[in-house]
Symmetry: C2
Subunit: 427 residues, 2 copies
């Protein structure tokens, strides 16, 4: 039986594994983490609507019924593409006949990696918990400062990057300050907190059609986000962001400006674009390696002259396609080329607001409440597992109707330690 | 208006604050954490049935409608009981007319604090997450070892202490290994994992009536827990526990053997018992300080010649009583003495099993499924907040009917770091 090794348990890797469930191959899925993360909802963990386990599932549990699949929690140290072996940190070598690389992307600080400590991004559950701790610690500290000195530092939340992630985070943060926390503090007024969204270009949601971009701009304004377009970030420090429009004080800074592919493609000597994505052919193979498939954010695939966006639906379709091609090979059928089927894009803007560029089953631009309802339905549908769908559904109903957040816990160890160090240093 | 300062946001502190909602006093509730934790369900977070936010609620959110109450997240550095001032790490001094001390208890290692690193207990959300990471990492490591070397270390989980906490943890762990994880691994057999419960005395659930203790013993056996009674622990190391019956290899060790009160009582010079609990009079006051109330696990209160148990119902009743006495003072009414109203005790043993010593509304001993159903209903009822009741209810239905765990995430930073260090050192 042939070995298929899949590296990465994100959208692409999980879909590839699932599509191979009934194929007569041995599947090995390798991931550093034990869980698959539904990244599009990470911002809701960071802003305390959902718990980590609502949007993350153990990879083993997802694939437990699939008897031909073995899940390994380990880290890839190197891949020998001549010998067809994946070397793991702890496991020795895993030989493969087919290899699916789906290691995704991480943040890009455009050569300023020192900004990361002050402006973390949102790619993992740990990122989200760390951010949740930072956000809610800011309010606690301000309340204490008010009791003691009758003044507090500015409650400024700065989001860098006006793409879908930045827009969703900024909207959720504005609701957190202006709606959800309103009644919880006695000495500070959380509705005075500022959420500032910085975008270097002239519009938010850059790749969206113009009418949706301007609608997003307007809806962000409505929920209290201050948007600064045409504003370049030149420096990031612990308590401020320096921009082309001047210095902005910041209590929390969130990075949503750039991504770069995992370094694997470059390390293997494949041709990559400037973000490290591997240039793939119509079957998702890198040059001269028909047994290797590159899927998800790691792949650079052009259709109609444009690179496909690094979103969940691209990754899922690529993962399934890689599995299909492997099955075509096994059945000695001709390989079918990959074609991306674009169902559209959407971004929420806080509670009750969103924009949606719908491409399927019909073409339409939706804005405001209607777009938000479609967003809710689609995201519930794509969550893995009935348990999580139901949990998330209930928590959304609860949050949006009661205006209370359930998961507003400050538990992250790093944040707690830092917090206590701050307390100690002030003493 | 008089100031009431409450230290500690556990069962006693929260109940005291709530009972003062309509009193004409200013209430300050101080806690190091921003959340109240429903400690009786921590073991379900550690064994991945529930998420932290399901059993923890922001203290601010619980008390947000209570306009006379201010919540402060800070640490108490000292209390000046002559000047009637609480000194906080960051806040300066908080003057009080009445002081409610409800700082609870922590683990006691009987003079062997060096055991703590190898055998953590279960008192906080962080404890539970750390333990969850350890438990599930053990299986991942064993699966990897099997792939590489065709052998793995013994999957032994050792629980030290056969009181209610130890019994509940052991039962939940046995179910985790023998039921929930059964189908998730390809190379290891999780049903071969051993859960060993060590108890120094001659029976588990010591304070329970004999028939319930022996029923618990039998039910633990049925769900696959190996119980060693009359077994003293003499040493705890990373990979084993040394006992009066010999050495036991252990992959994970959990401490459920002893508690000691927070050091506050002793620090203030009050008379304390050997576990540091403050001896209080009939109004819950320490000697000569009618303005100070000691509540919950910190208090040593005797009724009918026996010390009240350190459980949630004791703490809640004490918290309410302290508030009632303060209100009696304000209205110049005579103080009423505290009387504990015992509704009974119960402990679950995995899924579908429990023992219950019911005292109210009637006297009864329940065992097995009936006891388990009563346990479910009572714990759902006492969870704070409709949101959490519903979430927990759903997750219990899901877990017990599907035999899958939802929150099986390895996310704790410390565990991940340690895990990666282990990987690195093996390389």
């Amino acid at each position: 039986m042939k070995n298929v090794v899949i590296i990465g348990g994100g959208f692409a890797g999980i879909r590839a594994a699932k599509a191979l469930a009934s194929a007569s191959v041995s599947v090995f899925l390798v991931d550093r983490k034990n869980h698959h993360t539904f990244q599009p909802l990470l911002y809701q963990v960071a802003t305390a609507t959902l718990s980590p386990a609502d949007i993350a599932q153990p990879i083993r549990a997802i694939l437990q019924k699939q008897k031909n699949t073995c899940v390994i929690m380990d880290e890839v140290t190197s891949i020998d593409i001549e010998e067809k072996k994946v070397h793991l940190k702890n496991e020795g070598a895993l030989p493969y006949d087919y290899l699916v690389l789906a290691t995704g992307a991480t943040h890009s600080y455009f050569g300023h990696n020192e900004w990361e400590q002050f402006a973390p991004g949102l790619k993992t559950i740990e990122d989200a918990l760390r951010l949740r701790g930072r956000i809610f610690s800011v309010f606690e500290e301000a309340e204490r400062d008010m009791v003691r000195t009758n003044t507090h530092k500015p409650l400024n939340f700065v989001v860098i990057g006006g793409g879908p992630t930045g827009v969703e985070v900024a909207g959720a943060l504005a609701d957190t300050c202006h709606v959800y926390l309103r009644d919880e503090f006695r000495h500070i007024d959380t509705t005075k907190a500022r959420v500032i969204l910085l975008e270097a270009m002239s519009k938010v949601l850059g790749p969206y059609p113009d009418d949706l971009s301007s609608s997003a701009f307007q809806q962000l304004n409505e929920c209290g986000v201050e948007i600064m377009i045409n504003t370049q970030v030149t420096d990031v420090q612990e308590s401020y962001v320096m921009t082309s429009a001047g210095k902005i004080d910041a209590a929390v800074i969130i990075w949503a400006a750039g991504v770069q592919a995992s370094p694997l493609g470059k390390d293997l000597g494949f041709p990559v674009d400037r973000r490290g994505c591997v240039m793939v052919d119509q079957f998702l193979n890198p040059p001269a390696h028909p047994e290797i498939f590159i899927c998800g954010d790691l792949a650079h695939f052009e259709q109609d002259g444009k690179q496909l966006p690094g979103v969940a639906q691209t990754a899922m379709q690529m993962g399934v396609h890689a599995a299909e091609v492997i099955k075509q090979d096994l059945e000695s059928k001709p390989r079918k080329p990959f074609k991306f089927f674009d169902k559209g894009d959407m971004a929420t803007i806080g509670r009750m607001r969103a924009v949606a560029n719908i491409r399927w089953p019909f073409n339409a631009h939706a804005k405001g409440f209607a777009a938000w309802v479609s967003w809710l339905i689609i995201h519930i549908f794509f969550l893995i597992g009935l348990r999580n769908r139901f949990l998330v559904f209930w928590q959304w109903i609860w949050t949006f109707s009661s205006c209370q957040r359930g998961a507003q816990l400050i538990t992250d160890n790093e944040v707690l330690c830092k917090h206590e160090a701050q307390l100690a240093s002030k003493k």
